[in-house]
Every structure is written in structure tokens, then in C-alpha cells.
């Protein structure tokens, strides 16, 4: 789908009153996060491919380092405050789950998950989503729980932590202390995203270039 918010960039507001110092510090650090040294290289390749299929990169925008952010969570073994009784901790869950995904790919398509084409990779993902899996490794990590407790929340949380993802969805992004003034229906503050509209007098891209 064409970008609904052409030329809108949350980061253009980085030095404005919409970002406080704390926000600048944490978002700067996040954008600069590279993959930590955790998991084996083959495991990381499976994870990268999985992330790429669950949350495709935004077109024409700075790439989202979702795989690096997820690996950072795995390296820290950082939980969310709850763990299903049938799942191990974060890092172990991902180790077991990635192994199971890779075996599932080999059994279905004769090659590892990282090397599958998009259609094949998606068919493996669908099998996990539907609990219709055959690899023996799933006995060590129930596919339905790995899907709902790790794959989906961990990956989308990493992706939507990045400003490129915020810009692509027309989200206002950080907003302290400036906040917003126009709360009513169909009203937009000048520091918010404008959406592409066929009948717009001023094109959205023109408005978005003035977002500060």
C-alpha cells in the first residue's frame, strides 16, 4: 500500500517541545542499537527472517532494527512480568522456538527457514499460527504458546518501538511537554501527520514537510 503519510517523519520533531530530554536519550539509543552477541549465527538468521515476515520493513523509510531490538531483549532475558506455566524463560523459549521453526521448514520444504522464499516462509508461519506443526521440537515448546506469548508480542513490540514505524502509521510520536491542542474530529495540529487525500488543496507531503 502507498505510504499514507508521505514525507511525514516523527524524528523531525526531535528538537521540538514535543520531545523531552529523556525521550531524546532513549530513542537515540534505540535507533543506534545493533545486534548484541547472543544466540548462534544460524539462530539469528532464522530470527531475522521471521521478523522480516511478521513485520515487513516500511517502504521508502529508514529501516526498523526490530531484529536487533528483539535480540537485545533475548540477551537480557528480559521478561514481561508473567510467564505461562508451560513456557521457559525468554531466552530459552526463543532458542527452543527458533530450532523448532528451522526444523519445521526443513521438514516441509527441505531447506532451513532463513533460506525459504516469502511464500514458503509464510506457510511455515501459518502452520505455527494454526498449531498445525509436525517437527518433534515443538514438544519442548508448544507452538500455540510460542506464537501468542513470544513471536507476536515480542516482534511487534520491537518493531513499533521505532520512529520509522510511528511515522508510517501517522502517529504523533513523543509529545511531552507540548502535547496537543486540537482534539476534535478531523482537526490536526500543525505538528501532526497529514494523510494523503485525493482532493487535498495542499498535498499531504507539503504539509508534512512543515511538521516540526
Amino acid at each position: 500500500m502507498a505510504d499514507r503519510f508521505p514525507d511525514y517523519d516523527v524524528l523531525a520533531k526531535r528538537d521540538s517541545l514535543s520531545w523531552n530530554d529523556k525521550t531524546r536519550a532513549v530513542v537515540d539509543a534505540r535507533i543506534a542499537t545493533s545486534e548484541p552477541d547472543v544466540l548462534s549465527e544460524p539462530e539469528r538468521a532464522v530470527l531475522r527472517r521471521l521478523v522480516d515476515r511478521i513485520v515487513p520493513q516500511p517502504e521508502g523509510r529508514a529501516p526498523v532494527n526490530a531484529a536487533a531490538l528483539l535480540l537485545e531483549k533475548i540477551a537480557a532475558d528480559r521478561g514481561d512480568g508473567y510467564r505461562h506455566a508451560r513456557l521457559p524463560k525468554v531466552r530459552e523459549a526463543w532458542e527452543r522456538g527458533l530450532a523448532a521453526i528451522d526444523t519445521e521448514a526443513r521438514e516441509r520444504h527441505g531447506t532451513g527457514f532463513a533460506a525459504l522464499d516469502n511464500r514458503q516462509a509464510d506457510s511455515v508461519i501459518q502452520a505455527i499460527q494454526q498449531g498445525d506443526v509436525c517437527a518433534a521440537q515443538w514438544e519442548a515448546i508448544p507452538a500455540d504458546l510460542f506464537w501468542s506469548y513470544r513471536i507476536l508480542p515480542d516482534i511487534v513490540s520491537a518493531y513499533y518501538a521505532h520512529p520509522s514505524a510511528w511515522s508510517a502509521m501517522g502517529f504523533g510520536g513523543p509529545a511531552s511537554p507540548r502535547g496537543y491542542v486540537r482534539l476534535e474530529t478531523n482537526r490536526r495540529d500543525s505538528w501532526e501527520a497529514a494523510e494523503r487525500a485525493p482532493d487535498a488543496v495542499v498535498p499531504a507531503s507539503e504539509r508534512n514537510r512543515h511538521v516540526r
Partner: protein
């Protein structure tokens, strides 16, 4: 993400952070561990923080401990969902049962001020009949406190927090004016209003604990919309910026990063608490111990404090510590509209409908529910679409890009008490060496009938406003109550109406754990009202020599 304050505990050496000033400090009274204080309070959220203030203002010596850090919101809080996970209780907990509860972000806090630091500020009173559901409505169990008394304490809390609310509240007995004018409604709230009018039910502006005019050192709300991950401008009247500054001024001591692991008893009375701070265990002596850790940590501490005198845990002769855990149903209906809604602006729930809390006819289930307009942030919304609707890949990305045209209504529904829903201890231990909790939960048929009715009604409301591509989110829960309930009878409750344990006269519980039933509104205002009442009762009993 910074999980902890890098500089260790802040409230030490006779001073505590000034929440209103970057880098600032306020003086704080300090007590030695060896000094037997009148009250040690475990937890500084809606129950413990409020009680600490009220007891200190009554002249008692108070030490309130919290496992979490002491934030200064103006300098410590980012407009960022990931960073602000530092407000949540993310220590390991095991969840199981037929419908395991998602913990962490939406129902537990680990900060001075507790989960009020990240609550959505919705401040509703429970319907009067909901304090006596057994005798008035034929289900659940009665509270040992009457509604008239609770409504007096609601008024006190609403004044203290300067709640911004409507001029006339459509449901229930007459109530006074809210202290501050209601906030303007955002587009999402207007969609609730239009739907309610189309279906012929009342709606109103949600009474919320964020300022609509200046108050003390805090500014009015700027409508930044990140309320549920912590307010960085101090407009939100969390316990951190409302009751606790008062508590400090009145002489209470607050200890941050202080994890209480065990309550000590001698000859059937509490003598103090063992707590972990700055890498070692300490023992604070106290004449009274108040447990205010919310519905998971409260039973966990009581159970972890089992000793030779009380082998089944403290205050547990009824066997009910940890039982009757109640969440609230948090199902939703969502849809698309042509209008630009941008629900990320303003507090997330600026309009509310309590029709189905007050109307008992037309239901095939017991209990009540309210519903509110919504404004989810990106990560929260992406998890909803992925987990609740099964979207991933380009379908997820495309749906996220329609977020500015998404409207939603979400319920807060009454789950009935069920002894099988409970908190127990596992054999696994945490970073303090304490056994971690297991949280077991399953919906009942009554819960499912309520969900079906509520999601249908909310969906019809959206339909009436022209929303298309509608869908129902069936999985979510909110809030935690029960697990140390109050009652008239020591055989069927853990504490009495004064939050005093039946078994140990100087052990108290003051938080959402004491709710016998949970009603169809967010619990924070009720928890604070109970804390105010408990403080008054303690003052009265102390004057009569009954402590």
C-alpha cells in the same frame, strides 16, 4: 531501557525526591530500623500511599516501603512505551489455568506510587447496590461497609485528587460537583457519545484524575495521550504526586527500592518486617504492619511469611488468602470510520457509559459493566491487532496505518468471586530469594455471558456511528482484586471492615485485595476511599485504646 535508578535508592539520608522539581529534594523524617514505628506499610500505591498520608497526618509514625524506584516524572519519564516499562512489575510470575492472565503492563506497578503512576486515571464510584450484591441483587457476597459511608470517602478522594468531571452525573444517587471542570472530549469520546445517543442510553464525560486547571505545583493536562505509561508533566494525580508529598510533609518516611520479603510474628502478633534494600536484608520494627502490595504481592507476602505459629501463612485461618482473585473483563469492539479520529490525543478514556452497571433488566448473567472510549498507543495497539485479531505481515502493517481512523469501546466488567481463581506460591525463587507467585485463572459461564452481551452492545454502538470493518477483541483483562477479602465473618474473610486481619490484631491489609466483589468500574478510586476510611477507623480505635 533503564530498569532501575542507576543511583540506587533515592529516599535516604533525611530527604526524598521532590517530584515537582528536576533534581530537587524535600526533607523527610527518618527512622532507625531498631525504632518501633507505629506503622510499617508495605506498598505505596492507591492503598498504601493513601493510608501512609492519612496516618501520618493523624500523628502516627509511619514507614512506607516500596519495591520500586522513586521517580521524578518531569525528568525521568519519556514519551515512549518501551522505556516506560520500567513502571511495571516485570519480575517473574507464573500464569496458568484455563485463561491465564496477562500481567505486567496493564495491571501492576513497581514504583513509588504503585500502578497509579501508569493508570488511565478513570475515577468512578461503584454503584451503591454493588456493595451488597448478595442481599440486593442475589449474587456474589456483601461488603461489610455500606455504600453511604463509602460515598462520603469517595468525595474526600475526589477532592484530594481534584477530579475533573461532568456537572451532572447521569447514574446513581445525587453527588456533588466534581472539583474541576471536565476535560474537552476528543474525537474518540465523541464517537462513544454519538453511539450511546443512537442506542438510547446515557453517556457522560469520564471523571478523570488529571488536572483541568492548575493545582499546587502541577500544571493542567496538555493532552499528550501517554497517560497509561506515566505522565511526564505531573497533570495526572497519581499517588506519587498527590498523597505522597502530603505524607512526607506530615512526617512519613518512604523507602524506595525496599522489597519486603517476610513479616515477623512473635506470640501471635507482628513485630516488624524483613526487607531487602541496597543488597542486604534489614529488619524494621513496628507496632503494626499494613500489607498493601495489591492482589498478587499481598497474598504472596502473607503466604511467604508462614512460620511455626502460622504454618499456612499469616491471616489465613479461613484458608482464603490468595483466593477469589478477580480481574475485570476488558473486552472491546473496534471499527473504522471516515473521520480523522487520532485517538492518541488526550487521556484515552474521555467518555463513559455506565448504563449496564445500573440497569439489571435484559441480562442473562449477574453483574454490571461500564464501557469507555479508547486511545491505544502503537505497541499496545499492534499487540492487540496481532494477538486479538491474528494479523501479521503486510496485513498488520496496513491495519496499523489506519490507526488514525480507528475507534473503539472497551468494557470494564464485573468478574464474580470464585475461590478457584487464586494466587499460590511456586518453588521457583526470584532475585531476592523469595518464592514467586503462581496466578491461576479461568472465566466462568457468567463472565462469558457478560462478555457476549457487552461486546454485542458496544459493536452496535459503533455500527450506529457508521463504523465499518468492525471486530471484537475477546481476550483482554484489567485490574486485580480479591485474594484477601474483607467481610463480617472470620470464617469467610481475611480482614474485617477496617482492613484488620481477623487472626493477627496488628496486621492489616489495605489495597484492592480486600474487595469482596469488584463491580463494573475501575477500582482505584474505591481503593483510595477504603484507605481513607481505614485511616479514620485506626485513629478512632487508637483513641479508644483498641489498637
Amino acid at each position: 531501557m533503564s530498569d532501575k535508578q542507576s543511583d540506587g535508592p533515592r529516599a535516604t539520608g533525611g530527604r526524598a525526591p521532590d517530584v515537582f522539581t528536576p533534581g530537587g529534594w524535600v526533607p523527610m523524617r527518618s527512622h532507625e530500623d531498631s525504632e518501633e514505628v507505629d506503622f510499617v506499610i508495605v506498598g505505596t500505591g492507591a492503598g498504601g500511599g493513601t493510608l501512609a498520608c492519612k496516618l501520618a497526618e493523624s500523628g502516627f509514625s509511619v514507614v512506607a516501603m516500596d519495591a520500586g524506584p522513586y521517580w521524578r516524572p518531569l525528568e525521568d519519564f519519556a514519551s515512549d512505551e518501551t522505556e516506560q516499562q520500567k513502571l511495571y512489575w516485570t519480575d517473574e510470575r507464573i500464569v496458568d489455568g484455563e485463561n491465564p492472565i496477562a500481567m505486567g503492563s496493564n495491571n501492576s506497578g513497581k514504583s513509588v506510587g504503585g500502578s497509579t503512576v501508569h493508570f488511565a486515571m478513570v475515577s468512578l464510584r461503584m454503584r451503591p447496590e454493588h456493595f451488597a450484591t448478595r442481599s440486593k441483587l442475589g449474587y456474589g457476597v456483601d461488603w461489610p461497609i455500606g455504600w453511604e459511608e463509602m460515598w462520603r470517602y469517595y468525595a474526600e478522594v475526589e477532592q484530594a485528587l481534584k477530579i475533573a468531571g461532568p456537572v451532572r452525573y447521569p447514574w446513581g444517587p445525587k453527588r456533588g460537583r466534581y472539583p474541576m471542570r471536565a476535560h474537552p472530549m476528543n474525537a474518540a469520546a465523541n464517537y462513544l457519545a454519538r453511539g450511546a445517543e443512537a442506542l438510547g442510553v446515557d453517556w457522560t464525560q469520564t471523571p478523570v484524575a488529571t488536572l483541568s486547571a492548575p493545582h499546587g505545583k502541577a500544571h493542567p493536562c496538555v493532552y499528550r495521550g501517554f497517560c497509561a505509561i506515566g505522565c511526564s508533566t505531573n497533570a495526572k494525580q497519581s499517588v506519587l504526586v498527590s498523597w505522597l508529598p502530603r505524607a512526607l510533609k506530615a512526617g512519613a518516611e518512604i523507602r524506595d527500592l525496599a522489597m519486603v520479603g517476610r513479616i515477623e510474628t512473635v506470640n501471635g502478633r507482628c513485630t516488624g518486617v524483613h526487607y531487602h534494600r541496597e543488597g542486604e536484608w534489614h529488619f524494621q520494627r513496628a507496632r503494626n504492619v499494613v500489607v498493601a502490595g495489591y492482589a498478587i504481592e499481598t497474598p504472596r507476602l502473607l503466604l511467604n511469611s508462614a512460620n511455626a505459629e502460622f504454618p499456612d501463612g499469616l491471616a489465613n485461618s479461613s484458608g482464603l488468602v490468595g483466593r477469589n482473585l478477580m480481574v475485570q473483563l476488558n473486552q472491546a469492539a473496534w471499527g473504522h470510520v471516515e473521520d480523522d479520529v487520532r485517538s492518541y490525543k488526550g487521556p484515552p478514556s474521555l467518555a463513559v457509559c455506565e448504563h449496564w452497571n445500573y440497569e439489571d433488566r435484559g441480562k442473562d448473567y449477574a453483574g454490571g459493566w461500564s464501557y469507555m472510549s479508547q486511545g491505544p498507543l502503537p505497541i499496545s495497539w499492534a499487540k492487540t491487532l496481532a494477538g486479538g485479531r491474528g494479523l501479521w505481515g503486510q496485513a498488520l502493517i496496513d491495519e496499523m496505518a489506519r490507526n488514525n481512523h480507528t475507534v473503539g469501546l472497551k468494557m470494564v466488567g464485573e468478574v464474580l468471586p470464585d475461590a478457584r481463581n487464586r494466587v499460590t506460591l511456586t518453588d521457583e525463587t526470584d532475585q531476592y530469594g523469595l518464592r514467586i507467585p503462581r496466578i491461576t485463572f479461568a472465566y466462568s459461564d457468567n463472565d462469558r455471558a457478560m462478555m457476549a452481551h457487552a461486546t454485542d452492545f458496544m459493536d452496535r454502538s459503533l455500527e450506529a456511528t457508521g463504523a465499518t470493518d468492525r471486530w471484537k477483541e475477546m481476550g483482554d483483562t484489567a485490574h486485580l482484586n480479591g485474594t484477601a477479602r474483607m467481610g463480617h465473618d472470620r470464617r469467610t474473610s481475611v480482614v474485617d471492615a477496617d482492613c484488620r486481619s481477623w487472626d493477627i490484631p496488628n496486621l492489616w491489609v489495605c489495597d484492592g485485595s480486600v474487595f469482596p466483589t469488584v463491580g463494573g468500574v475501575n477500582p482505584s478510586l474505591t481503593i483510595q476511599a477504603i484507605a481513607c476510611r481505614t485511616a479514620d477507623r485506626i485513629r478512632t480505635m487508637a483513641a479508644q485504646g483498641e489498637l
